[in-house]
Symmetry: C2
Subunit: 140 residues, 2 copies
Amino acid sequence: MSKHIDSDFRATLKQAGLQVTAQRLAVYRAVKACPHIMADEIISTVESEIGTISRQAVYDALNAMSDHGLIRRIQPAGSAALYEHRVDNHHHLICRNCNAVVDIDCAVGEAPCLIADDNHGYAIDEAEVVYWGICPDCRT
Amino acid sequence: MSKHIDSDFRATLKQAGLQVTAQRLAVYRAVKACPHIMADEIISTVESEIGTISRQAVYDALNAMSDHGLIRRIQPAGSAALYEHRVDNHHHLICRNCNAVVDIDCAVGEAPCLIADDNHGYAIDEAEVVYWGICPDCRT
DNA sequence: TGGATATTCTGGACTGAGTCAATAATCATG
DNA sequence: CATGATTATTGACTCAGTCCAGAATATCCA
């Protein structure tokens, strides 16, 4: 079944003008398997799958893929960058205690959060929303 | 006139149960003078004012003050932590090009952004919004 | 005023996340 | 298959921030 993902993703990589390599496929599979994963978790996941990969290759793959919109990087305050394969408009809800992250569909519609009272002359293209709270498990 | 700020802030520190020190006053003055300032800029600012201060003292002061709600820390993706003296409900608009940050008053009211479609069982206490765009100066 | 106690400051070592740069391997394409 | 362009590997390095232990200060209370 990972065959499917792979062949789909091979095409996606090519369309983006990126070469298809074992490392990139493995990195993508890791992100797909575990959304909101950190770079070093990706390294271990990929290592246990592919055998070995350099840290740099992982970062290169992650940067290339997120630059081309194939994956998305989120950087919550106080933690390392997380990667996810969902690239549509959605937001995140993070537990202050255990840092668990869940996806939140956009409350209002397509790109709703772009409305600010006063844009100060900026050309706003994205509104990033992070909800902070305590997850069910941590509400002892 | 900085006398005013100082004596007000002395009281605020005491109310928060924190001791009043020259370093803390200086750090607070730096944050007040330049909102959205980074830690190492604070160090230089304070050094040119007080003469010398240790990095640790600055971080301690910043952590203590933000823990007690005297200042606010924001950590936009891809940059170091920024500190500001506004502690009320407001959001930020950041230029993708030059990283300029401006405050945005909360579009809807007091704590409006707390409405998420599905809270997944979380007890949500804050919604943090970051608007990304291009500032007037960078729109060549 | 003068300690006793709690808190803060200092300087240096250290960590973790991520980047840089040079070399080696691999791919794409004629 | 030759050649140039991408991608991987390796190792050094940066940057932001924390940890630690001893020295210095501030606050409280008699």
